[in-house]
Symmetry: C2
Subunit: 459 residues, 2 copies
């Protein structure tokens, strides 16, 4: 790296906010995906103005800039695949304002999801998207990837809660979008163009979120099923019953087996398990909902139906669900966690299709996920040092995406495109939509310096 360039960067952010240390750069090569590529340097920004200057410099020198929160993304969006500079936003970590009466929180992008949750909890409020990575992932990353989670069916995803942004554009201009008002239809929706754009259109430097009062009652139940038809029917009947569970989770046979091998939870070894939570303000409200769900369970030939009666039982049920990803990740040296999403009537077909793909390519795939919004997580287990297994994994992934798109679904419900799903974008999007996305990228970032190489935007 050119010394003059290094000095120019240090002049902007200060010496303590710049690193070329090899240990740092190795860390900045990776996120939570299987991709990696080493940057030339990494820079911490502390203000929007610093980022504006960095972007102006990057444009002048044609250096790629890859924004990064906590690096928990599963699709490689924070991997600096064209090298250049990683722009680490984790030091912009202040909660600027919480106004309960206005139902809003204003934060910097480096605030951890859980930190905001902790600040809101004593006031009886929460920020509903609830990504599984919430203990470590940043709110800027949540916005960049439109993070979602367990509560998606009832509460939607990050997109539904972003009221406004401050953004540094690729050319270094600073812009405000949206409003601090709950509702605005003033001009184009620039805000949501940035939500989910994976740091390719601008660097988010401030976020105004809508927040919600936290429900004060929940009821929880589970059922196990010996076949996928019954499971699918139960899901469809719940969706039809007039209640929207705050969580409706599914664990497949392979996932259950893995949990049993690695924990003391002793789950029944069945084809699928459904775990449902209903929320509200009163016990009567949540019981009304859960009784509907229990009735539907009973009507669909369950192996077992169980309602959690105590706080400890509730914890146990969620422990099973939440252990799925870490437990499965331990079985083989490598895993890919997919997040295909289909209309809910196609969930049983998707589950069966995944089993077929697993058999066809002789590679283990365990599935769990959010049945309430059709978002499933087939987790493919393999050894990245075994070329045969890597090839099987690649074939299984392509088959999986073709299956999901064939079922009117999408490549990704919450993990984003990044590098991992970029080759499959044209499976889902027609040529005109692809062209419009690429045109938007060129319009915002003509020199292609902001997070280049992602989302198939260069094709």
């Amino acid at each position: 790296m050119d010394e003059k360039l290094e000095q120019a960067i240090v002049d902007i952010v200060g010496k303590d906010n710049f690193t070329r240390n090899i240990i740092d750069l190795v860390s900045y090569s990776c996120d939570a995906s299987e991709h990696s590529h080493r940057p030339l340097c990494a820079v911490f920004a502390e203000t929007a103005e610093q980022i504006a200057d960095i972007m102006k410099l990057a444009n002048l020198e044609k250096i790629p800039v890859t924004p990064r929160g906590a690096g928990t993304g599963l699709s490689g969006m924070a991997v600096p695949i064209r090298s250049g500079m990683v722009l680490d936003l984790s030091r912009m970590n202040r909660i600027l304002k919480i106004s309960i009466e206005d139902r809003l929180a204003v934060v910097q992008p480096g605030v951890i999801y859980a930190t905001l949750e902790k600040a809101l909890a004593p006031k009886g409020f929460f920020f509903p998207p609830d990504p599984a990575s919430g203990k470590v992932s940043t709110l800027g990353g949540n916005v960049a990837t439109n993070a979602g989670g367990l509560k998606g069916a009832k509460y939607g995803t990050t997109r539904d809660y972003v009221l406004g942004l401050q953004v540094v554009l690729p050319d270094g201009r600073i812009m405000r979008t949206g409003s601090k008002a709950m509702k605005s239809v003033s001009g184009y929706d620039l805000t949501r163009l940035f939500v989910g754009s994976e740091g390719t259109l601008g660097v988010v430097t401030e976020i105004t979120f809508k927040i919600n009062p936290r429900p004060t009652a929940t009821s929880t139940a589970l059922a196990t099923f010996d076949n996928l038809e019954d499971t699918g029917n139960a899901i469809n009947q719940i969706m039809h019953s007039g209640v929207i569970p705050s969580a409706l989770e599914i664990l497949g046979r392979e996932t259950i087996a893995a949990i049993n091998q690695n924990t003391d939870l002793n789950l029944p070894e069945v084809e699928a398990m459904l775990l449902v939570e209903a929320d509200g303000y009163t016990r009567g409200e949540t019981e009304f909902q859960i009784q509907k769900v229990l009735g539907i369970f009973e009507a669909n030939h369950p192996r077992e139906v169980k309602q959690a009666k105590t706080e400890a039982e509730v914890k146990n049920l969620w422990a099973a669900r939440k252990s799925a990803y870490p437990v499965l990740s331990r079985i083989k040296p490598s895993t890919v966690l997919e997040d295909v999403t289909v209309p809910m009537t196609h969930i049983a077909e998707l589950l069966k299709g995944v089993q077929d793909i697993s058999k066809r390519h002789d590679i283990p795939i365990a599935t769990f996920g959010h049945a309430g919004d059709g978002n499933l997580h087939p987790q493919i287990l393999y050894d990245e040092y075994d070329p045969v297994q890597v090839e099987k994994k690649e074939k299984a992934i392509r088959d999986l995406f073709e299956l999901a798109i064939g079922l009117d679904g999408t490549l990704t419900g919450e993990h984003g495109i990044g590098l991992s799903k970029a080759p499959f974008m044209t499976l889902e999007h027609d040529p005109v939509a692809m062209d419009m996305m690429r045109t938007l990228k060129k319009t915002f970032d003509p020199n292609n310096i902001l997070n280049p190489g992602k989302m198939a935007l260069e094709g």
Copy 2:
């Protein structure tokens, strides 16, 4: 109008779908705003392919095309201000699919909001945005303006329910955006770029909506207050209380007086009235919420607090609220209905400010609106044939927008920019945001033929 051009249009849509009849063109000059301008012709489209051909022809001949649903817009977005062709979408009025299990409805743009509501009601589902114009306005118009209504605070606006679109771009290409899955983060959010774009970026030809189960219980209450401070405090305390009412409406003194003059409702002549509805699945749930609200009412020096005990009482309360706009519209020959929106803590200041503006310019302004999301409707009453009153109205509008923006608010919570608010766009948006909106318009529509002259996009 050139005969060759007329023939070319008729060749695309057929003779029955074309008109140059002067009576028709006078109708197509107007929407529900004070603006009007006569088009050269009006065209009904029946398919996306016809619209694609129309757009190609319009590009070739440089004829402005203004898409139109039911023409209920209050800001002039359907007025063909540059003449040319009105593209009437009301004959594309089929509900293509309702799948309750998948929580979605697929419709053509000309379907009336109330028609979809009627189709969903027997299944226990609804489409929550609930615009006041819902009995006549089209879903395509709802999407183009991101329509909202009474239930905004709890349920959000149209934007939150659009999963995907089919759109004809200004150059005649047909594109699909979004997904039929509940969640997708696959590529840029093209869908929401069209929502609220007022027909300036593309013509929406098919919409996939998320739908919700309809709550099965409601509780309703009202309070009247002798001063705005108490009213504002009550609103803030409700927002802070942990419940989100499904409606939290406010009627100001002048509105109440007008209702009393024109109906038998006999409302108390107070400074403000708050009307609250809580919804849920069970009576216990809605009572829990409404008791909280009643407690807050009692603590803020109300003139009167009342809970509706019967269906008839509920109807009466809502009749008062729903009569506001028509009743006020009858007092003077002309009215402008604004929809400034502010963070909820500023509602009392906004109301006081509106009274000041009314006094300062000696022009009656009556206010009502959605206190639950800060969206107020100051309705300015004047005579459009009296130049003095017109000037007063213009001054009052500018003061009103400056007031709202000064209170961290937005020009428009649900009526859109169109022609009426275009001159004030730069009050709200910084120069970079204005530039990005104009750049987007140029990128999508380089010949500026799709609904030109709106939203200050040419500045």
